[in-house]
Subunit: 689 residues, 2 copies
């Protein structure tokens, strides 16, 4: 294994990101130089100001690539932009953004020197990867209190594997959570959900779960059910289970302030909410209106909040998604008062342009205001810490609350949990989805690019909102996106209120949708085995070609193909109206073309560049030499696939082996050797196309 060195700067807050106890090294850390001084900097408008600079610097070589940073915009190679670890509720993931919902401060520099660095720091961290200067990395924390881990080892993969050991085993969901799920912000009642299930079942499009967004709750109160909309919720959960559907409710971070609401009253009584400077509960507003935020960085409060999930577990629920946990704040009570006062002082009829812009900024600056994040505190087991200093831990804390409680409440059973906001360490307690994306073709590609970056940081159970959350989806976009989603552990179609309905049956090519999603179920023996092995062995599930073929000059450049597990390379189409795409094979591979699981075409191809046609209704992937892909007949839901005869696709000239992982999908005896079945094929001579 590789070598990990830990350096401590100042007095870091313990994030519990890592699980290995690494002794602190004395002396200077390698690779980076701390640069301090005064810089004359233009503000972009012909004004020059003196700026204090104080950052860690690394000089990149022209061929260096930089991998990692988990959930983020831009490429697999992160070079050429400045990122900020600052968990943000911002649904417009354009190229100009610097932060998404997670903070994943691990990166690997791969060039003449190959090393990894993990900055265990829960405040706002700026990572300039060749933005100010194309050839320099500049890392700037808000204050100088952090643990810095330097990792070295055998290539990028070796370093990533060391890191994954350092941070501990990734979360494993129940097997049903690998089935296809449908979600929409807008399903309001039993009947809405029945309509969805009926739409899928009648059109023979597989489905395993329906997600319940905020409307199932009574006035958006966590751990409540609106009884008008769901008169007998446990019975409805049962009704759905009889149709092999799991309901997955959302849980939001903020707890509504309402007299008589138990969660609120208990929280206040026990001091479990975040407090302002004066020691009074901090009041923000989210969906329920005014809320307090559970202090999930406090052990007692976290335990209390986690045990609240029992309310839904007891009604038959087996999965959850944690949302709004950056935490998103639409406004704070304090700031709204200030803004309203300012607005009311504006004279109506004579606003000049700068006044009108200031006015707009005031209103639009109500949400997720940095000043609000500086105005409340956590009680980190005795130590009062201002929120902005640990901002990036909030979603982690909330999901850890759930994860720890599930261990206590359901010790024998896996419960599905994934989160919007995250920090490294949270990957042990739950998955993440890639946040509120848009129905844009560019977000299909972004989805692909985030997969390996997230895997590097321990997040294996992940996926994007297929079809896109915001904006209007088109039928072709959804078909193409599903052809990538077939491979992502979380395979969920999710859309926002007010956008076009994008359940598969809303479009005309229902047969194509059924076949496409059927491929997910047919490939489940492979998908599940690869997931389990990646989690249990600390491996990448999705891997850039660069990591596996580091000496192949062209493979190093490929940013739109991925290796998926040990046998498969994927190369989805992500351009509208494209009939196909270019694909690079770094070694001979077998092209597998699936027109549904019932019609499989195979073709052996030599190393090199190809233009591959991929019709809208098909899934194409490539099998690596001497590798096997177990599959089965598809089904309409996971239970229908379970136990079906295993068949093998392969590209073996000699004898090849595959470790199939099979278990009941619920239990936690992951390491039981009985779960592994060795599959073997005797290959034959292969004719290259």
């Amino acid at each position: 294994m590789g070598r990990i060195r830990r350096f401590t700067i100042g007095n870091p807050i313990n994030t519990e990101a890592v699980v290995q106890e690494i002794p602190v090294e004395q002396g200077a850390f390698p690779y980076f130089t701390r640069v301090q001084g005064i810089e004359l900097k233009s503000d972009g408008d012909s004004q020059e100001t003196m700026v204090q600079k104080d950052y860690l610097s690394y000089q990149m070589g022209p061929e260096d690539k930089v991998y990692g940073l988990g959930e983020n915009v831009r490429g697999i190679d992160k070079r050429g932009w400045v990122y900020e670890s600052n968990c943000s509720d911002d649904p417009h993931h354009t190229e100009g953004k610097r932060s998404l919902y997670g903070a994943h401060n691990f990166l690997v520099v791969a060039g003449a020197k190959v090393f990894g660095v993990f900055l265990d720091y829960p405040g706002k961290l700026t990572l300039d990867i060749g933005y100010e200067d194309m050839d320099e990395i500049r890392i700037t924390p808000k204050d100088w209190n952090m643990d810095l881990y330097i990792l070295e080892g055998e290539g990028v993969l070796g370093i990533v594997e060391s890191f994954r050991q350092l941070i501990g085993r990734s979360y494993i969901p129940p097997k049903w959570a690998f089935g296809y799920g449908q979600s929409r912000w807008g399903y309001k009642c039993e009947e809405d959900i029945r309509t969805v299930v009926k739409g899928y079942r009648e059109n023979n499009i597989p489905l395993d779960s329906v997600y319940m967004d905020i409307d199932y709750m009574e006035r958006f109160k966590d751990f409540t059910i609106d009884e008008g909309r769901f008169p007998n919720f446990p019975e409805f959960v049962e009704e759905m289970k009889r149709q092999h559907i799991h309901l997955v409710p959302i849980i939001d971070a903020g707890v509504k302030i309402e007299e008589g609401y138990g969660v609120y009253e208990e929280g206040v009584e026990n001091g479990y909410f975040c407090k302002d400077e004066a020691g009074k509960e901090f009041t923000g507003a989210v969906w329920p209106g005014k809320v307090h935020f559970p202090d999930v960085l406090n052990t007692q409060a976290r335990g209390w909040f986690g045990r609240k999930y029992k309310f839904l577990l007891d009604q038959g629920i087996e999965g959850f998604w944690n949302d709004m946990n950056e935490p998103a704040i639409f406004y704070s009570e304090k700031n709204l008062g200030k803004v309203m006062k300012e607005l009311k002082s504006v004279k109506n009829d004579n606003m000049d342009m700068w006044e009108i812009f200031a006015f707009k900024d005031l209103v639009n600056g109500l949400a997720n205001n940095p000043e609000d994040y500086k105005s409340f505190y956590h009680n980190m087991d005795g130590v009062q810490v201002r929120h902005d200093k640990v901002h990036n831990l909030y979603g982690y804390g909330m999901t850890r609350a759930a994860g720890e409680a599930f261990e206590e409440l359901e010790p024998e059973k896996r419960i599905l949990i994934f989160s919007r906001s995250s920090y490294i360490g949270m990957h042990r307690y739950g998955g993440i989805w890639m946040g509120d994306n848009q129905s844009w073709w560019s977000h299909l590609l972004l989805n692909l690019k985030m997969l390996p970056s997230l895997n590097m940081c321990g997040f294996l159970y992940t996926g994007a909102d297929l079809g896109g959350f915001g904006a209007d989806a088109t039928e072709d976009l959804l078909l193409r996106w599903l052809a990538l989603g077939v491979f992502t552990p979380l395979m969920r179609n999710h859309a926002a209120l007010g956008t076009r309905e994008q359940e598969c049956y809303q479009f005309t090519r229902t047969e194509a949708f059924g076949k496409l999603i059927g491929i997910r179920y047919g490939l489940m023996p492979y998908i599940y085995s690869e997931y389990m092995k990646a989690a249990l062995r600390g491996k990448m599930l999705f891997c850039p070609l660069a990591f596996v073929y580091p000496d192949d000059k062209h493979a190093r450049e490929v940013e739109d193909q991925l290796l998926f597990g040990e046998s498969i390379m994927i190369a989805p189409v992500y351009v509208q109206n494209a009939k196909g795409r270019y694909v690079y094979l770094p070694e001979p591979m077998k092209l597998v073309r699936l027109k549904g699981m019932g019609q499989i075409e195979e073709e052996a191809l030599g190393q090199g560049h190809y233009y591959i046609e991929v019709p809208l209704e098909e899934v194409v992937f490539f099998i690596r030499p001497e590798k096997i892909v177990p599959y089965t007949e598809p089904g309409q839901y996971m239970e229908e696939v379970q136990g079906k005869e295993i068949k093998l696709l392969h590209f073996a000239s000699g004898a090849a082996e595959y470790e199939l992982y099979q278990d009941d999908g619920y239990g936690k005896d992951y390491g039981n050797p009985a779960h592994i079945t060795k599959l073997r094929v005797e290959g034959h001579t292969i004719e290259m196309a």
Copy 2:
């Protein structure tokens, strides 16, 4: 030539988009069916409502492609989205948008049937090109008063050429306007501009013009100069000319309301501004604060406004850009009053979520409010027309005002003029830039894709803000974008206030920038010749491969390469960190690699697919068989290039000819045969790589 049929529905407003008098056909128009009826439509949130439908329908075949629509988001093939012709000041050109700044209602369907349609309609028009139903075009006007032209001819190119004849000759700028220009919203005074010129000249990066954004004016008043910042403007214009720099000031649509300001007073006195229902001048607010809008759809008012440009022409100015002419309205006096009243009625301390969102919508809905566009009127030479019915003509009218005035004021001289907003017809009076884009890689590609769509609609003098207007540019983005910009008629680097400074000399690779932009100047004999011939002969300057190689199945699919003029195919790199890209050659071509004009490498390649490496500092293009590319040594500005020895790049096996167009660059005797020089090469045997 092709066949053009005109059908008139209702009582169309005469937009003067076309210059040919086509008699109106009686009877039903071909291809489209008008579909009327009631449709049950879900609103996306489980509510179904009855919707009145009334649209023109065309059933597309699976292989049909749809070209055109000028300035717009998405692909060269417009299939798979819904567009709205509704000129909009919206700088976020994401995939989910439906309108940009122009309204270009010409499209060509290319499939089993090939035909063009031009919907001459100046109101809001919805063009659903396979959005609701992947296989149907649905065109919905706001009301049924339009001229519908159906075009048939020899292939897509034949149809486009017919259309270009129908709409008249494209605008021709002075030759210096093909030089490279630098712009930034933020240059405030003489000294700022001198700094820019010095930055370019000292670093040997060519430059021909500096653009003056709104700050040069006195309180943003059109046709004024701030004397504090420009104490002697004519002298400063001269000083710049001595350095071979043209200053290009901006003109905005709104005229500031200010006592004593001549333009305002004359406009009111003569009734030249748009009026509200009561006949009072309509008051909106833009940069100057409260303004009136000149009624540029009225012949008298248009003539008056156009002649105002004389104020700057008289001071030595030879070029302008017209902005904010959708027209953009930050708020209307009437609506602001209403909004402020509503805001002040809000109770401070108990806003629920829907109230806070309504509150935000109210404030953010102040700008470009559709209700405001319904609240003022034009006097179209005696007929009162509500603005929203002719909204898409405003930018056209403003630029026509300038264009017509230049003919009158400077009959012997070309004046540079381009606009943000436009409608077909305006292409005769000026160019357009592609609006307020962003420093995104995706906008580099969007820039490429818009070029042929705009050419189809008559807009030849065009280009995007190189490096991107909004958001922060990176050095590599600017280099790659310039490598495309080398070929676009308008080659301007422009950036917004508050974004990173992106003048080429702000980065480290100044030599590379100098060489890249030098290539523009070196290729000028070809670029200028091709522009002039395209304008004078009504041809495409940038052409999709599909138009030229309609029988090549793969060429039909290519959306990221273009033919530029008769000899060149371009294939720029538009992906960050990419070392090269795939290129398809539909026929044998010669690859030309320019490491600056001084170092030219050539390689003959056969038909087929290639992966071509393109370093950041190089420009690569391809020469078609039997074609010639004249070039010259580069210079630091256009006058330095003029008259230099012409050299030839070519890919000729036999004898090949090229028509070089040369003139003084200012005069208007375009058709003078002396401007054409026939160049000829005797080819030689070509060895393919």
